[in-house]
Amino acid sequence: MADLVSYVVRKIMLAIPVILVATLIVFLLIYLTGDPIASMAPPHADPAEMQQLRVKYGFDKPFYEQYGIFLWQMMHGDLGISVGRNTKNLQVGDLLVQKLPRTLELMAIGLTISYSIGIPLGIFSALRQNSIADRSVMVFTLVAYAMPSFWLGILLMMLFVVRLGWLPAEGTIGGFASIILPAMTLGIGNAALTTRMMRSSMLEVIRQDYITQLRSRGLPEREIIFRHALKNAILPVITVIGLDIGWFVAGAVVVETVFSWPGIGMLMTNAISNADFPLVRGCILILAIFVILGNLMADIFYAYVDPRVRLG
């Protein structure tokens, strides 16, 4: 256990510079691309007014000083002030905190859907390798993987909202019912990956000697699969949950926009179209931290289940 703890500490220490570099890149993105004042100033502002704004928001200071201030403020929870039309003068940090639970909710349900489709389907497919059922599942995964999430969302909307009228189209107006479609859209794409992984992992395990040995002892097939094979086969699938988070973060931006789901993704898309750079910066930063934490989680989980990793 001690080696696990030291491994985790080492990984966390390594994540810190990565987060620092991410903040630097996010800062550079806005710093290097034009004059932020141009988009903040009222139209037809004269140069003197522009200069005044520049001094007010600290954009006249040298690069390293601006970055230092940005970091310092960020560590105190101050991510700047939004300059967008509808969110003018609101704290970026407050906006993010307000929208974050919506995105987390969406990702959690999407992840649940993805695993409850992918794991059973993968096992089913592996046990009937090369049958028509297996081939159909493989075709499903190919198509689901190739389908861009926003088009899948549109198709689901056509079916369940326009044709059948079962579900509300957008936002949170419909309570729980309105999360079903966006979560399904996110989940189905990832389910394709989960299915493939589960299938190949199961195929690998059931060819091993200990399974053959169990069969020769006359154990019922059901017991062999679910009590003995599944335990080993599911490990690689579960350990990538942290990497799935990266996929979900990217997907959420698009899916939230399709369904007008009021989370971080939707906030970011609106911020981009309003040229609200402080808010864009905040959104990118929080999504980046999500991805880094997801990867960290994956590393730790992997080391937990496979001791060889932490000793290496």
């Binding site: 190739a146 088009w151 198709l155 909307m157 990266g246 990217a250 990118i284 991805v291």
Partner: protein, 304 residues
């Protein structure tokens, strides 16, 4: 030609697994017998042919707006195979012209990110040591983040335009190529023919590009095919969000975004561009997956 140089040239063609000619022969011979490769290739060929023929086919203008409201939102019919959109433009024509945008963005972005990836990966893997340590750090950083998220950040900062989309995807997607080449270079540089070449006085750059790189061709081609599919997905997603290709240039992502407002009265607007996109992406994915199985079965774990 000095004897030393000719010997070095002969070494360049004497390869264990790769080389340009060998890889091309492998693709033609074994790829021709693989169903995935054949189907993927056929789909891509159809899409490319239609995209190339778009200007000469009798399909009407993709951008000309029809003022007559009676011609807007017409369902598919003989004169408009895919119907017309909210401004009376022929959707079939817009889908074909959109294919030109998607294919050019996809191939150009992959080409540029391959350039970045090859140079950085080759340098890191071949020289090793501190150079490798530093470059690998950068590669890992870009590899950690989903390319779409990076491209979105770059595109938002650069401002929307076709060339900025290509730039944004290129600087977001290269890490996969770099990882691939670095790993390959690490093993190839230990091979005897590299040592022999160095003994004959070949310069580092020459060894890297004539001995190490040709041995990385097979995985590079596989990754490029899958990369085009990914780049097309990213481009259409960016256009869907409004930071990609700008109107009036027809783009699948933007067409779908407009279509959402007409799901009830004109569902075909949001249907056909999506079908075209799915086919194209599927084609490149199939080709890539098939080539991977054919060229190097060990690469199976490369992509989940």
């Amino acid at each position: 030609m000095s004897p030393r140089k000719s010997l070095n040239d002969r070494l360049a063609t004497w390869k264990i697994s790769g080389g340009f000619k060998q890889t091309a022969a492998d693709i033609l011979e074994r790829g021709g017998r693989n169903k995935m490769v054949l189907i993927g290739f056929a789909v891509i060929a159809v899409v490319v042919a239609l995209a190339l023929l778009a200007p000469v086919l009798p399909i009407g203008s993709p951008t000309e707006i029809n003022a007559d409201p009676a011609l807007a939102e017409r369902p598919p019919a003989w004169n408009h195979w895919f119907g017309t959109d909210e401004r009376g433009r022929d959707i079939f024509s817009r889908v074909l012209w959109g294919a030109r945008v998607s294919l050019s963005v996809g191939t150009l972005a992959v080409f540029f990110s391959m350039m970045i990836g090859v140079v950085l990966g080759l340098t890191a893997g071949y020289f090793g040591g501190k150079v490798d340590y530093f470059i690998s750090g950068v590669i890992d950083l870009f590899w950690t983040f989903p390319a779409f998220l990076l491209a979105l950040a770059f595109a938002a900062a650069l401002g929307p335009s076709l060339s900025n989309v290509i730039l944004a995807i290129s600087i977001s997607y290269w890490a996969g190529f770099a990882r691939l080449i670095r790993g390959q270079a690490l093993t190839v540089r230990e091979r005897q023919f590299v040592e022999a070449s160095r003994a004959l006085g070949a310069k580092n750059r020459r060894i890297m590009f004539t001995h190490v790189l040709p041995n990385c061709l097979a995985p590079l081609i596989v990754w490029a095919s899958i990369g085009v599919a990914d780049a097309i997905t990213i481009e259409s997603s960016l256009s869907f969000l409004g930071v990609g290709t700008q109107p009036p240039t027809p783009s699948w992502g933007y067409m779908l975004q407009r279509g959402i407002s007409y799901l009830e009265e004109a569902p075909w607007i949001a249907t056909f561009p999506g079908v075209a996109m799915l086919f194209t992406i599927l084609g490149f994915n199939l080709l890539g997956d098939g080539l991977r199985d054919v060229l190097d079965p060990r690469m199976k774990g490369l992509r989940r």
